[in-house]
């Protein structure tokens, strides 16, 4: 006999299996009547259990369908939510890596600030619908490029974008700083092309952008109240990055000596002013970024355009600002189109 919820039934089965064979007809009738009663009860119970089992299954299917519906709803909300959070933070949260508590840490980060030159004036001259359209296109481009380079976008403040490299993921101090500069160069290059395109569409005020970069120790993490918090960075080094950005030339990329020290073997720069910034108690040497020196670097110190045998333009590229180089690039592209049109006519 086993110790199970069917013990009673097993005892009965055992009884009837071992029934004496020499019982009288009357005794057999009594046993048969008992067996029939038990079988009848067992049948009813089996029938009941089948119905209960089917009901449970239907209930589970219904719950499963509800869960699928809720899951789809959560995924939709999560998708919308992802647009309001830095990509890395969103992924950390949904992987369960990011704890939703007020907690900060100090990390060496490369901080990026950008804003549009004269945006206040530009915004007052444009129709709100036009401004909305172009500023959204502008930030979409910046966000896509930032995502490509692995930046954590901290926030958009008016026409300013604040981002950083080094948290929650880091590729090392030097690589983080290089990634930031690479991203900035791509942003300026893309904006140069876009501004030409938008001007052709009738936008009279191009979004010439200033970029400032600084590397320093920052407090990073969740700041705010227990009910409402923001994943961001704070500290004097963040303010310094913002100040460097405001000292940048329109269309340029200005980096601090701290960032330059990390990547000096990989970038071509022009030394700029030593800045004395309000609230910062040390002078800051700055550098304007010209280009990244790739591993397969070729001499790009002079651009030679040979028009004819005796007529060659030599343009010393280091003398050009980033904005001038990008503008030249657009002019050359147009010249190529014209030449192609001439040759095919």
């Amino acid at each position: 006999m086993s110790d199970s919820i069917l013990t009673k039934e097993e005892i009965l089965l055992d009884h009837f299996q071992n029934i004496a064979t020499d019982l009288s007809a009357d005794q057999l009738l009594v046993e048969l009547s008992t067996l029939t009663n038990h079988y009848s009860k067992l049948l009813k119970n089996s029938s009941k259990l089948i119905r209960i089992s089917d009901k449970n299954e239907r209930r589970l299917q219904s719950i499963s369908a509800e869960l699928e519906f809720e899951k789809a709803k959560v995924e939709k909300i999560a998708g919308q939510l992802s647009k309001y959070l830095p990509k890395q933070i969103y992924e950390s949260l949904f992987n369960g890596d990011q704890v939703d508590e007020i907690k900060t840490k100090r990390k060496l980060l490369t901080v990026f600030f950008s804003d549009i030159q004269g945006f206040t004036n530009t915004s007052s001259l444009l129709q709100p619908e036009v401004l909305t359209k172009y500023i959204n296109l502008y930030f979409t481009e910046l966000s896509n490029i930032a995502a490509k380079h692995g930046a954590t976008i901290d926030k958009f403040i008016g026409d300013c974008m604040m981002a950083f490299f080094g948290d929650p993921d880091t590729r090392g101090d030097k690589e983080d700083a290089l990634a930031c500069v690479r991203m900035s160069l791509e942003i300026q290059s893309r904006l140069s092309a876009l501004n030409t395109e938008w001007q052709n569409q009738g936008l009279q005020h191009p979004f010439i952008t200033r970029i400032g970069i600084h590397t320093g120790w920052c407090n990073v993490g969740n700041f705010g109240s227990s009910d409402r918090m923001s994943y961001t960075i704070i500290g004097g080094e963040v303010n310094l990055a913002a100040r460097i950005e405001s000292a940048s030339e329109p269309g340029g990329i200005l980096i601090s000596s701290d960032t330059y020290a990390l990547i000096k073997d990989h970038v071509k720069v022009i030394s700029k002013d030593v800045l004395t910034l309000k609230g910062i108690n040390r002078p800051i040497q700055t550098y304007s970024v010209i280009n990244i020196l790739d591993d397969d670097h070729v001499d790009m110190s002079t651009l030679n355009i040979r028009v004819s045998k005796d007529d060659t333009f030599n343009i010393p590229t280091p003398d050009l600002t980033l904005q001038e180089r990008l503008s030249l690039l657009e002019d050359l592209k147009r010249a190529v189109h014209k030449l192609e049109a001439i040759s095919s006519s």
């Binding site: 069917l6 009673k8 119970n45 259990l49 209960i52």
Partner: protein, 126 residues
Amino acid sequence: MDNIDISPTARTPSLKLNLDTYEFVLEGESYPEDTTKFYTQPIGQVIAFLGTKQDKPITCKFKLKYFNSSSAKVIMDLFTAMEESAASGNSVKIEWHYVADDDNMQELGEEFSEELSLANFELIPV
């Protein structure tokens, strides 16, 4: 015989037998990892209690939200024991509590009560 007071877990119900008030209560969800291991000892004690002549009315309260098929078998055995207890002369009242809009749990209570004729059965929506 002692009182029974088993606390609920995520998979098992609370199970109580109060020998002062003559009250048995099974409450919560029931889908134990091992139904036999969970129920055999306490339910054996409850069935023994029901099988003894009592001088006060016995009340059995079921307040279940979900139970699996093997738990249903245990409940059916309990109902049989309660009906047999009533047949032996005890006053037995069975209360089947269910959440008012839980049609499934109401129907299950009705199914279990089908075999009862001597024990007093009451459906109680809450």
